[in-house]
């Protein structure tokens, strides 16, 4: 092996070549449709349907080639800030997650990384320049479901089983109740909270107890309710995901209030790419007008709902879309009415 003599000319050539090569590398990377790196951090496994909606939306964007997607699931709140910082340090451009239990701490992390965009599930206001918030505002399809439910109950009694009476659950209950009352003023409600986000046997027992009191239509905010409805031969309405197809709800689940994070996340990705990401409240991105919520198909129940009701629902749906009808948001704890 011979030692290369570093001549002045060679030195200059190297000295110039390195930055040029680096420059080329950077521009070719940018030319790759500016694929940004997005991290998802979830407090629950991605089988939990709330997180599943985020995961599915990000997965879709990754498959479409818009982003490079990495995620961590089942991150406890006590560990969340560490994971946030790790992803922030790893050089991601956008972090999508949930800050419900750690609103303050997550904002502090966002302050420390002003160049990274945060889109977090959070009940409070956006923060600083880079901390945007969202929550699922699917009360509009809940209202539409209530309208159908009101016409389907023969006993005029509807049962509702929820996890905890927090704002985002309460508003769905109230919208459902308002919708049901709009088509059936005589309808009454039973309300149960099981004090857990996932305990299907318990939710099922609550639903059974409601059925004993004469309830013949259920609103299945939590998993387990649909099974109770199936066993007792009554119908149920689903929440967040299409429970007719995804939770074994054939012949039981009339329709579901769907939550879609695709448009919200799509918007965030586009803004990050354009460099215009703002600390906004994404509330409207999870509502019907912007494609954040919708009513699932009726499937086999299509023939069982009267054409009149379907027309009413379709009409109100277009009114909600156009903004001429607003479903009231009521975050107070709902109570049984009979």
């Amino acid at each position: 092996m011979t030692l290369r003599k570093i001549t002045k000319r060679r030195f200059l050539a190297y000295a110039l070549a390195v930055p040029i090569a680096a420059q080329v590398a950077i521009t070719s990377h940018a030319a790759q449709a500016a694929k940004i790196k997005v991290a998802g951090i979830y407090t629950q496994p991605i089988q939990q349907k709330w997180d599943a909606r985020l995961h599915q939306a990000l997965d879709k964007a990754a498959n479409a080639g818009d982003i490079e997607y990495v995620f961590s699931e089942k991150v406890a709140n006590t560990d969340y800030v560490r994971v946030l910082r790790e992803y922030a340090e790893s050089g991601v451009n956008l972090i999508v997650g949930e800050a419900f239990g750690i609103s303050k701490e997550a904002r502090q992390v966002a302050d420390d990384y002003p160049n990274i965009s945060f889109l977090m599930g959070d009940p409070f206001e956006p923060h600083g320049s880079n901390f945007a918030v969202f929550d699922n505002y699917i009360h509009e399809p809940c209202y539409l479901m209530g309208m159908i439910a009101g016409t389907m109950t023969k006993s005029n009694k509807i049962g509702m089983v929820g996890g905890y009476p927090i704002g985002e659950v309460n508003r769905l209950f109230h919208a459902f109740m308002a919708g049901a009352r709009s088509t059936n003023p005589d309808v009454e409600f039973k309300v149960n909270f099981i004090g857990s986000w996932y305990d299907p046997p318990k939710a099922k027992e609550a639903a059974f107890a409601q059925i004993e009191t004469g309830v013949d239509v259920l609103y299945a905010e939590r998993a387990g309710v649909v099974d109770a409805a199936r066993e007792k031969g009554i119908v149920a309405f689903g929440n967040v995901n299409d429970m007719n197809k995804e939770e074994n709800g054939t012949d039981v689940v009339v329709t579901s209030a769907l939550w879609h994070m695709e448009s919200a996340i799509g918007n965030a990705i586009a803004e990050v790419k354009a460099g215009t990401f703002k600390a906004a409240n994404y509330k409207e991105w999870t509502m019907m007008a912007k494609g954040g919520a919708s009513l699932a198909p009726y499937y086999e129940f299509d023939s069982q709902i009267s054409a009149d009701v379907k027309a009413k629902v379709a009409k109100l749906q277009s009114e909600i879309m156009s903004g001429s009808f607003t479903v009231e948001i009521n975050d107070e704890e709902p109570k049984s009415t009979f």
């Binding site: 149960n192 004090g195 046997p201 099922k204 059974f208 409601q210 009191t213 939770e247």
Partner: protein
């Protein structure tokens, strides 16, 4: 008040009590067997979780429901053996080992679940045990719905109790187990290996716990999720004390707790809304503590509970 009394007169309340009690019965009986042999098993929460997962997974992979239960029992027994390795053979702290088993088993069950089903975004489902119609009995008024409207596994849970009582009090094996928890020296003097007796008791008890967990995924519901057990295991540990280490009373305790739970679900629905729902959710736990205060005064715990046995060691 009359509303409250009305609850007890509905068949649905009693049916719910029986359903809610099942996992607690098996868990409590399992814990009781371990403790009667002198070994506290705080691995119960995790063992119930892995039982719920493995039984469910067995069926999801195409297995039969009853062999699924056997598989859950087998996996539970394995974790029981692990616990006895630390707590019985090495004589380490039973508390620490038990908590460790709970953490290992619950994390491992989720790990295995996610490795085997990496992409599902909603927990997949199986066809679980279905309520069976018993000719004649199921059509009876009130009792038909309250008692004879359940799944085969529910009856199995109740059938376990008399069998355990018989074995524990009427057979030499049961005598050896009870002696290992009272006076292991006496067992040793009889030429019986204390460590073997305790290991077998812990493995058997853990198998019961695992099947109790499997009740939740194979009879009460049809899908697995990692947080499913939701503290039921810890309730069982308390129920053993409530039962003052007697299987018959354990059955009563499980039924009492389940009854309170079934009641709170119904009481929560009362109108008026003066009492927050959390109060009702809390009721079964508070009343269990109250009952325990009364019962525990006369509790007779196994004398060698928590004391590791080392052969040849002088006490």
């Amino acid at each position: 008040m009359s509303d409250l009394l009305e609850i007890f007169l509905t068949a649905g309340f009693w049916a719910a009590t029986i359903r809610i009690a099942c996992p607690l019965i098996l868990g409590t009986i399992g814990e009781l067997i371990c403790e009667r042999a002198g070994v506290l098993n705080l691995g119960i929460e995790g063992i119930m979780t892995i039982g719920a997962m493995s039984g469910w997974m067995w069926v999801y992979q195409g297995g039969d429901l009853w062999t699924g239960l056997m598989f859950a029992a087998f996996i539970g027994a394995l974790f029981g053996l692990l616990h006895s390795l630390f707590a019985v053979h090495l004589g380490l702290s039973q508390h620490v080992s038990g908590i460790g088993i709970t953490m290992l088993a619950s994390s491992l069950s989720f790990f295995v679940f996610r490795m085997m089903l990496p992409s599902s975004t909603t927990p997949p489902k199986i066809v679980p045990f279905r309520p069976i119609n018993i000719p004649g009995l199921s059509d009876m008024p009130f009792f038909g719905e309250a008692i004879f409207s359940h799944t085969p596994m529910t009856y199995f849970c109740f059938a376990v109790v008399p069998v355990v009582i018989y074995v524990l009090y009427r057979t030499p094996v049961g005598l050896a187990v009870r002696m290992a928890g009272e006076n292991p020296m006496a067992v040793e003097a009889q030429g019986i290996n204390v460590l073997t007796v305790r290991t077998a008791a812990v493995a058997t008890g853990s198998a019961f716990m695992a099947v109790g967990g499997a009740y939740l995924t194979m009879s009460a519901f049809d899908a697995f999720y990692f947080g499913m057990i939701n503290g039921r295991g810890w309730i069982c540990v308390a129920l053993v004390i409530f039962a003052s280490w007697r299987p018959g009373k354990a059955l009563l305790g499980a039924l009492l707790f389940a009854g309170l739970d079934a009641m709170q679900v119904r009481a929560q629905q009362f109108t008026g809304g003066l009492i927050p729902y959390q109060f009702f959710l809390m009721l079964p736990y508070v009343l269990s503590i109250a009952a325990m205060i009364v019962m525990a005064r006369r509790a007779q715990y196994p004398k060698a509970l928590l004391i590791p046995f080392r052969r040849g060691e002088r006490i």
